[in-house]
Symmetry: C2
Subunit: 360 residues, 2 copies
Amino acid sequence: MEHKNFKNIDKVTYGRGSFSQLGQTIEPIRQTHNRYFVYIVDQYFKGKDLANRLQNKPEDLVYFIDVDPYEPTTEQVDSLRDEIISKKGVPSGVIGIGGGSIMDIAKALSLMLTNEGSSTLYQGLNLVKKPGIYHLGVPTISGTGAEVSMTAVLTGPEKKLGLKCDWTVFNQVILDPELIASVPRDWWFYTGMDTYIHCIESENGIRNNAFSLAYGEQSLKLCREVYLGDKAGQTSENDDKLMVASLMGGLSLTYSEVGVCHALSYGLSKIHGTRHCYANCVIFQHLGDIYPQGHREFMRMIDKHGISLPQHLSKDWDDATLTAMATVSINLPFMWHHAFGDDWQKKVNLDYIKGLFKRL
Amino acid sequence: MEHKNFKNIDKVTYGRGSFSQLGQTIEPIRQTHNRYFVYIVDQYFKGKDLANRLQNKPEDLVYFIDVDPYEPTTEQVDSLRDEIISKKGVPSGVIGIGGGSIMDIAKALSLMLTNEGSSTLYQGLNLVKKPGIYHLGVPTISGTGAEVSMTAVLTGPEKKLGLKCDWTVFNQVILDPELIASVPRDWWFYTGMDTYIHCIESENGIRNNAFSLAYGEQSLKLCREVYLGDKAGQTSENDDKLMVASLMGGLSLTYSEVGVCHALSYGLSKIHGTRHCYANCVIFQHLGDIYPQGHREFMRMIDKHGISLPQHLSKDWDDATLTAMATVSINLPFMWHHAFGDDWQKKVNLDYIKGLFKRL
């Protein structure tokens, strides 16, 4: 088996208040390319304090994007790219400030500013033809690992699948735990659980190895402190930890693979538009037989934080809907392979997956 | 306080047997630059199996270097650079295969092949003027963290100090735990303890933060499994872990700082030529008052593996020798500052440091 050659984020700044170093961080890139920057900022921050601290220059383009109605789409990225190019040509770089969706848009945009045609052409592994432009991520929600991963997940007309290559990885990430302090409690939980599930899935499968396991173990330790420990909850100390947990969880899955919950989650999101982290939680509550230990702990965290997840969703899904969902999921064979080994196809087929969806 | 902006290794391959991917890994770099490669290999491997698996091409230069007599010096790197340039001009890249000393030589050489004059000019932080050439590290001993650090430590006529900048960091590292299987037992211990001490020093000081602590905690967990657990010892499972522990320990110190043991260790090595990892062990056994918890555990590991460290070394050192050693150590103010805080100069002076050396 060939071992993955894993591309790191080029540079990482970590610490409370480090967001204020954004301007100085991009200055050398500005000077080298002598062009403007594009900011992609979560609409949530419009009118808020952060919007006055962007350290942008007059020539820069600042887009506030509402990521609430739907997850990032290929169409959205394509039209944003076309608009930017027609307005001011190729920029020096793209800065994404927000949660996982904003990270994905910034990463995809960086690639699509140098690669021609629609982003649907590049959904998959190593289909991108040219390096993208400089891109910098500033997460304001921790958990998805999008700040560290080599994929920019987009929903297209046919599939929900990432633009996945070395060039997708950010050139720079600024991790400022102060920025995640105001995350609403329910999303603080769902996104943190995305990290938790990354680690559980990463370690329970054939691609698990000492490298990904070490990242997963430490990320799980931090998740336990943040969500289960004596000092559990949204405190500044825990925000410090959660930001690191998200990064390490992302590294754990990158060097291993995600599993059943993520495969199902993509199906649920593609067909019903359910947000990724929330979808994971909705699904993971029913996977006690597949991930018994992780499931037990997950249910304790649900309980501790009084989170209520929807039940009996599947009663409204007809067979065609279930088939559509299962079709999306089965088209992620590397996840099933990781989870169940070389024999996975003996167990996993459309009916099996539909059965899992019926648990919801 | 400004937050560090930390440069990562560009790419990392991890796994048993991954060394066999060296040739294919460097092929794109070869093709881009259309030039030869330089191999810097620990002399230990001359005539051994590994020497037949270098995947080098006829045009490449392969140097087997004996790093046993002394730690890497500025003079050594300068003359190697001059010889290489005069033989075949600037290469596509440098490959280092060996322990911490070989890693340091490869990193320094990469920089000195593009920066003029003696490497003594560049000992310190951010003194290097131009990016070095592509450099790839293959550690064959785990522990020093040299595979991940942003410094290439050289001993010069005046100081033992690293060439420290973003460009020092490897472009590529290949972590193949099979390569560390044959490390002699005593060096397996000393180098692993270097990692252990990195983590203890990193977390005990003012630059400790959630990011470096997370790496330190996981590295310590792995060290405990390798050196203290039920399955402690030189097994293949533990080699897998030790290789990750070394990387994570290196990341922990990079994002924080080392402390008293390392400051003393540089003094001991500079004046007496003592090897770094061994010097750390010789010193750390006497630092129970400064790092009580870490010291207790260290002594248990010494005990468990029947390691005997030299005692009463200082009886042979006159005052001039002690002063020379202490002078080297006090010229590492960031380590003392980290360990003792802003007031460190109230406590630490030449006499205090000489007192610490007298414990040896």
